[in-house]
Subunit: 419 residues, 2 copies
């Protein structure tokens, strides 16, 4: 009853089953992915994303549809135990991102009298584009592990922004892992198994599911919509922007702490939307707040989504067509000294709030080379002036230093920091 089964093998059987029996949801996913890869830059949704590389996957990787994000508190006080955990996690991540199980013996191999080393809910599911991306929070560099001298200056705590309504219990954390995949069960499986492996050494501080990506990170992707109904991320930094990525996304060797070379800083903000209030706002006002029209996503006064925004144009009454407090104006690089962000957020609905309202909004995530010159000035400007603020509330915040990629099977998450 405990023969060894790999997810790949299970999946192979599932796919064969289709030809024979005609159906099966697992197989539908695989077949679908294979059938529609009309562009080399868009992988099949069932495919695996390479785990090893110069940079971590899950940053410029074309944004997958689903998210499970987790922030851990480290509970061990021993640096060696933490480094050991990071090695175990890296091995598990390398397997799971390639469609394998978390441990060598999987959910049904190994010793029947021992707990399985995979929890099993992804058996039969393909890799589904899973990426796992790790980051280290500022709190990891306190006096527990002797890492204080290695804290990057760019990891300075974010300032308190006007209007912040942050809940400490869902903010911060020592270590984050971002799991993105085309199948939520695969993303959840990955985070759950990392938590399982970390038992006794880390503890889940907070965790967030997201169901619809709200940004494209590749020009091959259509721009998705946020829960205000607008296209989001039209002017996002994208993987095709090689020069901008070098300048604004990836930490360079001379930037400060060497262990961060090839890495990037991640800011997370859980932004609750006042959905019900927004839904009673006129179309005109909604479009003026964003500075784009709702149907096409074109800048006001323009026709197509990717038309450049005209910040100078005035209407018949002499008012700016794109208002001074419009979201697109305040967030635009031209208003922020050229600062870009690689956004990678997701829509969320966490049920309802007990007051008759949906608890919903945007789990904002943005990668960048230095938050002090990118997220912080942009958010200061938005927090002070954005007309959208009437409809949103920032309830959680995180800042994490995501190191460069894992080079090969001998490397591990954070090795340059821990060795």
């Amino acid at each position: 009853m405990s023969e060894r089964i790999s997810r790949r093998k299970m999946f192979g059987l599932g796919a064969a089953g289709v030809a024979a029996a005609g159906a099966g949801v697992v197989a539908v996913r695989a077949g679908s992915g294979g059938a529609v890869a009309t562009s080399a830059s868009v992988a099949a949704t069932s495919d695996a994303v390479p785990f090893y590389g110069e940079h971590q996957a899950g940053i410029v990787t074309p944004a997958q549809d689903r998210l499970h994000f987790v922030s851990f508190d480290v509970t061990t006080e021993k640096k060696a135990e933490l480094a050991e955990l990071l090695q175990e996690w890296t091995a598990a991540a390398a397997r799971m991102t390639q469609g394998g199980e978390a441990g060598a013996f999987g959910a049904v191999g190994g010793i029947p009298e021992a707990p399985p080393d995979d929890t099993g809910e992804a058996l039969g599911l393909p890799a589904s584009g899973l990426t796992l991306t790790v980051g280290f929070g500022e709190s990891l560099f306190d006096d527990r592990f002797g890492l204080a001298a290695r804290r990057p200056a760019a990891l300075a705590p974010l300032p308190k922004f006007p209007g912040d309504a942050l809940l400490p219990e869902i903010s911060g954390g020592d270590i984050c892992v971002q799991a993105c995949a085309h199948d939520p069960q695969v993303a959840v499986h990955a985070i759950r198994n990392l938590a399982r492996i970390g038992f006794g050494r880390v503890s889940v501080r907070w965790s967030q599911l997201g169901f619809g990506r709200t940004s494209s990170t590749s020009r091959a992707q259509a721009t998705p919509r946020n829960l205000m109904g607008f296209k989001d991320g039209t002017n996002n930094l994208k993987l095709e922007d090689a020069k901008l990525l070098r300048e604004q996304l990836w930490v360079a060797p001379g930037d400060g702490q060497d262990w961060m070379a090839g890495g990037s800083y991640l800011v997370t903000r859980k932004i609750r939307m006042m959905i019900e209030t927004w839904d009673r706002t006129s179309l005109l006002e909604q479009e003026q707040i964003f500075g784009r029209n709702k149907g096409e996503g074109a800048p006001l006064g323009k026709k197509a989504e990717f038309d450049p925004i005209d910040f100078v144009a005035k209407d018949a009454a002499g008012e700016p067509v794109v208002k001074a407090d419009a979201h697109v104006r305040l967030a635009h690089p031209s208003s922020n000294g050229g600062a870009h962000l690689l956004r990678r957020g997701y829509n969320y609905v966490d049920g309802s709030d007990g007051l008759g309202r949906l608890d919903a909004g945007l789990f904002f995530m943005a990668y960048q080379r230095d938050p002090r010159r990118q997220f912080v000035p942009v958010q200061l400007s938005l927090a002070r002036k954005d007309s959208l603020n009437e409809y949103i509330k920032h309830v959680s915040s995180g800042l994490f230093a995501c190191p460069g990629g894992v080079k090969d099977a001998g490397d591990y998450w954070g090795r340059a920091l821990f060795s």
Copy 2:
């Protein structure tokens, strides 16, 4: 800036964009669905499910992958207003399930100075198999609307089961709507627009997202896995079981209240899993608790998932191979006077619980002809004896009378009850 755009039209443009530009996630979904419909019984995941019919869709409809479930409290005290809302909802549901927008003018049509009559986040997305299924809770039959005499006897409040840890704020409710779709954004969009339309007349009491179906409702579907890693719903009642559906799923005209003919009773139970404890349990114990092996899902002592369970077989030590307190034994129709359920549950993860644990489990939903003869005896038996109880906790409960289908555009949800 407010030209009228239908979701279908937007989607048509999106799909055309693929051929031209090579990619786009929206289009990938559509293409994928079309490419894999190898069996007439499995629709493309982008397709629409018919809204009108003898029974409501979303019950025997092959279970879609994603759920947004909502329970409303009625806040108006006027029966006529409630009946009017049900008519407005029905019209919106008929549109949205066919890939259209919630209202005639959509997200960007109509009067710019008025709020749009669709919130817009599903613009460009196909119907995605959306079904919307309505049910009426016992509380609707109190003295507010003069419906007390029309309360079906089968809608009697569920008994308190041993071990119940129900939270009243996420239990019960006057009206429920189950939205199932292959795309969570489409399911969320539907519920959000029904809540928007209901403003001033209903208020969201609780709402639940589910990301992975845990039962098949058709033999054309592969059996999915729950978050304990086991296949779930192998012996579920399925749409191909015509005789059993007549006997055990659909309310017959002579069953009591005529307005429920062609309908079914829905029980919801949010079942939190003690994920971390389960993950430290041996494979042997996990398999004994369920009575099936984990890899294949075969009954213990058998080889294949659909092999009949042998409740008599004993092992070398003279113990039953499938233990007396195994889940499959206690839940099986043969242990419950032949009672079947059509289960339609979903996995959920609601983040973490502040104690270092994932807040995750199963949102159980089951349809049946009469809960007094089906869910209640089965759950009494499980609550008393199931060895799984050590790892689960029921935290929410609901019971809803789901009327028969909407016949045509002149009919509406609950018309037989309100007229």
